[in-house]
């Protein structure tokens, strides 16, 4: 029997979103309340298993009385708050943020971003052909995963997952400053010289595909990656007694990627190197 902890009952806060009264449990963010109310607020750096970093600013909304726009992902709901999610002002900032990102970062593997660019009528090309881009080459320095920082929006999620929020390995950090800031290990060394334990929990939280399995990276390069032809099967990892859930992504009868359900109450999507990458024996057909 699975026991779902209910926790202590939380007070419901009353406030309004787009003029409609809503009630959200105390401690909820504006984003939680918006989602509960069926509002589609775009997010990029928000992660369901991580504390909000509110770095991308694509989820900004208007809150009555606030001088600036407010990030929905991190701002806690307060009683009496008047939130407006779809004003011209909020939409303007979202559009510019999308333009700024799309004109500097390769967003080709970022889910939903094409849809948002269309919805907000963002025109990333308007900054001209000489607009500075990240111009990073993929870092392929180990057999397990690839760091393609040309796709990095600097959401800090990998750093947080590697650091004190989950893995406590602290192999990576943001280095440099401003537009030149990049995710890096110490001394900009290859991953193999770092503290990385190859748990792949950074891949799990990466919102743009900047971090990907080597298998996925190679298949994309070869043009054989086809998500529509993949099945996802959630099973239990057999390596140790913890019993983490593995979701095996299978294409053409080959495991191409392993993820883990984020709603697992024990592991929250985190795995170790064995669960994440140790599947080759399954498909060893010799």
């Amino acid at each position: 029997m699975t026991v779902t902890p209910l926790g202590i009952p939380r007070r419901l806060l009353e406030f309004t979103i787009d003029g409609e009264p809503v009630r959200a449990p105390e401690g909820s963010t504006i984003l939680d309340a918006c989602r509960a109310a069926g509002k589609d607020v775009p997010t990029l750096c928000e992660g369901d298993t991580l504390r909000p970093k509110n770095a991308c600013r694509v989820c900004v909304v208007e809150v009555e009385g606030s001088r600036t726009l407010v990030p929905a992902c991190s701002r806690k709901a307060e009683p009496g708050m008047e939130v407006r999610t779809d004003t011209e002002r909020a939409r303007h900032s979202r559009r510019i943020v999308l333009e700024l990102l799309a004109s500097s970062v390769d967003l080709s593997t970022t889910p939903r971003v094409t849809e948002w660019i269309k919805e907000y009528e963002a025109k990333p090309d308007r900054f001209g052909p000489d607009a500075a881009r990240l111009n990073e080459e993929p870092k392929v320095d180990n057999d397990l995963y690839v760091r393609d920082y040309d796709k990095c929006i600097l959401c800090y999620k990998c750093v947080d997952a590697c650091g004190d929020q989950w893995q406590n390995t602290f192999a990576i950090s943001v280095a440099g400053r401003g537009f030149d800031a990049r995710i890096a290990v110490e001394h900009d060394a290859p991953l193999t010289d770092s503290a990385c334990v190859y748990c792949g929990n950074c891949i799990e939280v990466c919102p743009t595909g900047a971090l990907s399995f080597k298998s996925e990276f190679d298949m994309r390069a070869a043009g054989t990656w086809d998500e529509s032809a993949q099945t996802e099967t959630t099973t239990v990892c057999a390596y140790c007694g913890v019993g983490c859930n593995l979701t095996l992504h299978v294409q053409d009868n080959e495991i191409v990627k392993v993820t883990s359900p984020h709603d697992n109450p024990v592991t929250h999507g985190n795995l170790c190197i064995k669960g994440r990458f140790g599947y080759q024996h399954v498909q060893n057909r010799n």
Binding site: R57, V97, R126, D193
Partner: protein, 666 residues
């Protein structure tokens, strides 16, 4: 955490630099060599809370290495990380955040040449070219954002690493070691012997001010510095070749054209007192405000400050009394006091002049603020580009400590308080209050999102009052003259005296003290504005331009707001028509691009796009510039609305005002 280190080893010098700050390592876990291992060493680890509690020594540790070696090598960084139990990746992220550190080899001598607004207008471009043409090997030149020497533009700063004696002492070296002329009855006599306690101006290598637990501030810098301003290529190159024999900087009073005039409140002691002498400070009314504070009690002090109407002078103009009250009333302890002396807004140099000319005033004011808000530990976060302020403040702290005006039982009142100096390392963003906390704590100086506000969760997650230098020194006259008399100065909504940093196209650049309510024209007249005035920049790079025909703008928070501009930190920079406006705007845009921390998208990419657009239209006007101006407006609006902190929110202010008010690009 399971720390992983590479094979890089520190050199003996690097190891000595770190050990001078932290003491010798106690076990191999901390990086002691095998032959140094003590017999009892079973590789015991410093871990858990004790290790985490030392994280804030990361920035002083990086300074220690950089001061001695000139750059931070892999081996040195790894050794520092071992000593502090900090993951090397994080330390690398911190080291690469600051402009004054380098993780690549560079010459021991770095010549920072200011290319910011006032210096650019005074010929910094030619200066750079001249320097690069005649510079010998062994010196690297770095173009620097504002060095805070605008009254003596163009300016350059030489920093030479690896000099084995302390930085240049304060202005009166002969008097430093001399015994004070007389003692004041209320001072503790039990502290360290005065003669010796006050003798070391900035501490020898390894000397750790404070409580003797090895928690060092900026002390003991094995480096030499020289400020050259106004600089010519010749004087800058000479100073870089031999920073020790460079001519002495003029006294701080030279930056105060009003020095010696009657009626000054904040600047009255500058030029009148010997900045190294505590006796002189006391003879000029020093420490009467602290006595009054002890008589009033903490709540009484907060009431006085609230009644005085004092608001923050750093730019945000938040009521100081409210901030103090909010911190004082938090049940969570300890409380901290942080003085923000990371004065980096281009055109601002008032805090430097106060710290160089009247350092004890800041010590006294910090003591009062801490007493009122229940703090026993204060931090003075001092800009890395201010070597003389550092020396003066270190000396003042040592003197105050030796005389019982800091430490246990101050003035016999049973209240204890001490101040640690933390030196910045070249990051404008660290002047943002929460970024400053992160910087002190040993993290990258990135702003935190608010709420929670510092009064609730500030430094080390505890209730913290953070005030700018000028704000704090205003507390002294509030207590000595009383709140009503103070509030009678200035206007109803902007009370008290205000310091203005006037530079650019004026005869007498410097710090001016005027009561709030004086007009821009009056101030510029006082400073002797030159003919051909084209524009005035108020508030620095984050401020806005006004036209020469707007001289009747009252210099108050409400007056500038009504006029659609800002007072900011009190910068008033005059430009004549010899400086092309597009070039100034481009410099401002470069500044924000360089100084953006990179955390949020609107600022990280927006400041780049802003600079690119200004580049494109540098030579264009009218219809040819219209598309890019429209683009600038849209990006600027998103930066203002959606950036995390004030840097991004104000990065477009000056450009916008130049377009709308001055008609740039028309």
């Amino acid at each position: 955490m399971d720390l992983h280190f590479g094979d890089s080893k520190p050199t003996d010098d690097e190891r000595a630099a770190v050990d001078a700050l932290l003491g010798p390592p106690e076990s191999s876990w901390e990086g002691a060599a095998r032959d140094e291992m003590r017999a009892a060493d079973l590789r015991w680890a410093r871990g858990g809370r004790e290790a985490r509690d030392r994280r804030d020594l990361l920035l002083p540790g990086l300074h220690a290495i950089n001061d001695r070696i000139g750059w931070i090598s892999d081996g040195a960084l790894d050794y520092l990380c071992r000593r502090l139990t900090v993951p090397p990746a994080e330390a690398y992220g911190v080291a690469t955040f600051y402009a004054m550190f380098s993780v690549r080899p560079r010459p021991a001598t770095v010549l920072h040449v200011c290319t910011d607004l006032a210096c650019a207008a005074a010929g910094a471009v030619d200066l750079c070219a001249g320097i690069e043409g005649s510079l010998g090997p062994g010196v690297s030149v770095e173009r620097s954002p504002c060095l805070g020497l605008c009254e003596r533009a163009p300016a350059a700063l030489v920093v030479r690493a690896g000099v084995t004696y302390p930085a240049r002492p304060a202005a009166h070296p002969a008097r430093l070691g001399a015994p004070p002329l007389e003692e004041f009855e209320d001072e503790a006599r039990s502290g360290p012997k005065r003669g010796s306690g006050g003798a070391a101006p900035s501490g020898g290598p390894g000397q750790r001010p404070g409580d003797g637990t090895g928690r060092g501030g900026g002390g003991g810098t094995p480096r030499a510095t020289a400020v050259v301003a106004p600089a010519t290529a010749h004087t800058a190159v000479l100073a870089a070749a031999s920073p020790d024999s460079a001519p002495e900087e003029p006294p701080a009073a030279m930056a105060v054209p009003q020095a010696g005039e009657p009626g000054l409140t904040l600047l009255s002691r500058i030029g009148a007192v010997d900045p190294s002498s505590l006796n002189d400070y006391r003879a000029h009314g020093g420490y009467t405000a602290l006595r009054r504070a002890f008589a009033l009690g903490p709540a009484g002090v907060i009431r006085e400050v609230t009644d005085s109407g004092l608001v923050g002078r750093g730019g945000a103009a938040f009521p100081t009394g409210r901030k103090w009250q909010a911190t004082a009333s938090r049940p969570d302890h300890p409380h901290y006091l942080v003085c923000n002396a990371d004065e980096s807004e281009p055109g601002t140099f008032k805090d430097r002049v106060i710290m160089e000319g009247d350092p004890y005033a800041l010590v006294e004011a910090m003591t009062i603020a801490a007493y009122a808000t229940g703090a026993h530990q204060g931090y003075l976060y001092l800009r890395g580009e201010y070597p003389r302020s550092l020396a003066r403040m270190e000396h003042a702290l040592a003197q105050a400590r030796a005389r019982g005006l800091l430490g246990e039982d101050i003035l016999g009142q049973g209240y204890s308080f001490d101040i640690e100096i933390r030196r910045g390392a070249g990051a404008y963003i660290c002047g943002e209050e929460t970024a400053l906390f992160n910087s002190i704590e040993g993290y990258r100086g990135e702003p935190r999102s608010k709420p929670p506000f510092p009064v609730e969760k500030g430094l080390f997650g505890k209730p913290t009052v953070e005030n700018n230098v000028e704000t704090l020194v205003n507390v002294l006259p509030i207590l000595t003259m009383g709140a009503p008399a103070y509030a009678a100065i200035g206007t109803a909504r902007s009370t008290g005296p205000k310091l203005f940093c006037v530079s650019g196209s004026v005869e007498r650049p410097g710090i001016y003290e005027l009561p709030f309510g004086a007009t821009l024209g009056e101030l510029l007249e006082l400073a002797g504005v030159r003919d051909g005035l084209r524009a005035v920049l108020l508030g620095g790079a984050a401020g806005g331009f006004v036209r020469p025909d707007e001289m009747d703008i009252p210099l108050t928070f409400e007056g500038t707001r009504e006029a659609g501009t800002t007072l900011g930190s009190g910068v008033v920079m005059a430009f004549d028509d010899t400086v092309p406006l597009p070039r100034l705007l481009l410099r401002i845009a470069e500044f924000f691009r360089d100084e953006s921390c990179g955390q949020c998208v609107p600022c990280r990419v927006g400041t780049v796009r802003q600079e690119e657009a200004l580049h494109r239209i540098a030579e264009r006007t009218g219809a040819a510039a219209a598309d890019d101006i429209a683009l600038l407006r849209e990006v600027g609006r998103a930066m203002r609305d959606a950036s995390i902190c004030g840097l991004g929110q104000t990065a477009w202010n000056a450009v916008e005002s130049a377009i709308d008010r001055l008609g740039a690009y028309e």
